[in-house]
């Protein structure tokens, strides 16, 4: 569906990244009391930029070949730097995660609204209204 991909623009991919971010924040909140758990977050701009221009993959033909451009967390997550440290090694700060989760939910709905307007645009074009 090449036509529809163009019609929806970047919002389809953006929605996927937004969902992933909500998931990471939910994991942080779930582990708010887990010793040694390190809170993570997604840099939305970075991940979206990566999905748009992925570099051409190089092929490893021998066992001694190294992977090129490998990052520490291939899923694009980064560890959060806490404002205060906890004795048990946990870096989740519940109130900050709650605020981020609420913000991420609002951003998700924003992307959803963009997507809805694109869809209604396509529908109007198809009906010839």
């Amino acid at each position: 569906m090449k036509i529809l991909d163009g019609a929806l623009g970047i919002h389809g991919q953006a929605l996927a990244v937004r969902t992933k971010r909500l998931e990471v924040l939910a994991q942080n909140l779930a582990n708010a009391d887990t010793p040694n758990f390190k809170a993570r977050d997604i840099d939305f701009r970075q991940v979206l930029a990566d999905t748009n221009n992925q570099p051409a993959a190089m092929t490893a033909t021998r066992g001694a070949h190294y992977e090129v451009g490998e990052v520490a967390n291939p899923d694009g997550t980064l560890y959060r730097v806490p404002f205060n440290t906890a004795v048990d090694g946990n870096t989740v700060e519940s109130s900050i995660e709650q605020a981020q989760y609420g913000k991420a939910a609002a951003q998700y709905q924003t992307t959803l609204n963009f997507l809805e307007s694109r869809i209604s645009g396509v529908r109007k074009a198809l009906r010839g209204e």
Binding site: A26, A30, N31, D33, A105, S120
Partner: protein
């Protein structure tokens, strides 16, 4: 598996873990004034030790939700039992002492409030995810 399933699953595993923690607190509070005849038999406070579900083998064995939380084990509070001189107590030893539990009511109340707040947090996470999911389903009506 859609990502929303995972959000709800992760928050669900956290609710489950917090409920176990709340249960342990209730048990500790109920036994706060339990006495025993020997130090070994005295009731000792129990605490849930949480662990993140990150390893593949955990996710295969129990909950399928990566990033959730589960109870790794129950730890026993190492604080000594309180010795109280009660010669009239039928459980008293030869010297007339009984061994009270090492439960600290204040600590348990704090633990209870922390557990219930974390529980509520995760309920809110599920609520938000559910609302976003149903809004996404309505995208076809646009």
């Amino acid at each position: 598996m859609s990502s929303f399933d995972n959000i709800i699953g992760v928050a669900g595993s956290a609710i489950n873990a917090q409920l176990t923690r709340l249960n342990a607190t209730a048990s500790n509070l109920a036994n706060a004034s339990t006495v025993a005849g020997t130090d070994a038999e005295a009731f000792r406070a129990k605490r849930a030790v949480f662990k993140a579900l990150v390893d593949e083998q955990y996710t295969q064995a129990g909950s399928p939700f990566v990033g959730g939380v589960f109870i790794e084990r129950m730890s026993v509070d190492p604080a000594p039992a309180r010795m109280v001189f009660q010669p009239g107590n039928p459980l008293a030893n030869k010297e007339g002492y009984v061994f009270q539990s090492n439960v600290s009511e204040v600590t348990e109340m704090v633990e209870m409030m922390a557990a219930s707040r974390s529980y509520q947090n995760n309920v809110e996470v599920i609520n938000t995810a559910r609302q976003l999911l149903s809004r996404t389903l309505e995208i076809t009506k646009a």
